[in-house]
Symmetry: C2
Subunit: 261 residues, 2 copies
């Protein structure tokens, strides 16, 4: 039995999210079916992040156990022949038997894309939130530093989160003007609460529309009140861009259990 | 009766190209149906460029005549409510009655996207040609200057072209490394032959794979022989990015007939 770690990219447009469920086709299910076919045994996978319906991933990380003799680095080639083109496996490697894609993750980066132009984009319609009113990007940028550091982000979660603690550390919150119409928000931290990045993106847009004050984040961090923040931005602007693990997790994960959020 | 010029963006993935035809749904047909509904009369449109099936447009230009009282600049709002999300009208303006979207165009820019990585992209799969073998970009760049200037591009066309002359002037042919995996080729000229940009892109990839010599373009320009060039790159990497008109075309097109290729 070997434990394998895959890096998986997907366009979440047509899927009911990452996690296998009854009412809709999940990315996990499609991947498990391809893996079971490739390995000739029932395979169950564990993802680093349970992305919502419509959310994309450039680098979802996924582990599973298999008795298959397929060399770990060959999994992308084998699986990409079985998977639909909106799911691609980019890398495969063997990891220690107690490696865990979710619990051992020590950091993630998300990208949130905003198409800030009068009319929506035809080409990038599934990857961006269309905001037709011009945003005050200077105002948005002035709001970002309040997010950086270790805070109790209890106001920054939707109902349904299962986190034991709401303390998180963000080390990056940056807005980039990619071109005349496309704004991208990059957020990096040790871990994220349920809907946290979408609440940050929705609040930033309301700050950029002058519907919320630029100190909304500081207020919400102090009050713990979800109502001090803005709307939850729609899922299709969001992408899981990077998942980080401590280097030793690939050799001795047992020594790194304290990284578990 | 007024003549209106629209700028239209579309994702060509599901369409049988720009031009209305019997065996497949064309972008032109979808646009004409929305326009006819909006204007309450039968509307026929003329596009600046007949893009092939799977080819995209960031800025297709289209003219039509109408007796409708819709203000020209309101057409995007009216049409975007009637069109599917993979077709967006970005601008509308009135032009003189003898303006012609195709014949008065004095320049176009195309973008060709190459995803140069071992595995295809899930997110950008419909916008890029996947080339899994690493390309020698220095070799590709060394081949580009030969294209610049006024030449007889008779070798650079597919059967089925209707051009009376094959002399064209290119003023830009540039390869950009957008990120680790994405290469974009920008080509700008006064006009293009049928499949010309896709033949250029296919030849450049073969040059980057060392299957063709870096002077393939010069040879083909001298010989006029299509066989001196490489394959025709697939349509889904191609985008019509810009269409240019002489400024006077918007006021006095009759004086500009000599621009007609």
């Amino acid at each position: 039995m070997k434990r394998i770690l895959l890096c998986v990219e997907y366009d979440g447009t047509v899927y009911a999210g990452w996690q296998r469920q009854i009412n809709g086709l999940a990315v996990q299910q499609v991947l498990e079916e391809a893996l079971s076919q490739a390995c000739g045994e029932n395979v169950t996978v564990t993802g680093s992040s349970r992305t919502d319906a419509g959310v994309h991933a450039l680098a979802q990380h996924v582990h599973f156990d298999t008795a298959s003799s397929i060399p770990p680095e060959k999994f992308p080639f084998v699986l990409n022949n079985l998977l639909p083109p909106d799911i691609r496996v980019l890398t495969g490697r063997e990891v220690p038997p107690d490696f865990h894609a979710r619990f051992l993750s020590c950091g993630k980066t998300y990208t949130y894309r905003i198409w800030n132009a009068r009319h929506a984009s035809a080409l990038y319609r599934n990857l961006c939130w269309h905001v037709p009113v011009p945003l005050d990007t200077a105002q948005i940028r002035s709001a970002l530093p309040a997010l950086i550091g270790t805070h109790d982000f209890s106001a920054f979660q939707a109902a349904g989160g299962t986190a034991k603690t709401t303390v998180r550390t963000l080390d990056l919150a940056e807005l980039k003007q990619e071109n005349e119409k496309l704004l991208t928000l990059l957020v990096s931290g040790n871990a994220f609460l349920y809907n946290m990045v979408r609440i940050i993106a929705g609040t930033l847009v309301e700050i950029g529309l002058h519907r919320l004050p630029p100190d909304a984040f500081s207020r919400a961090l102090a009050s713990g009140n979800r109502l001090d923040l803005g709307m939850t931005a729609p899922p299709h602007g969001l992408e899981l861009t990077e998942v980080r693990y401590p280097p030793l997790a690939f050799t001795d994960p047992a020594s790194l259990r304290w990284h578990t959020p």
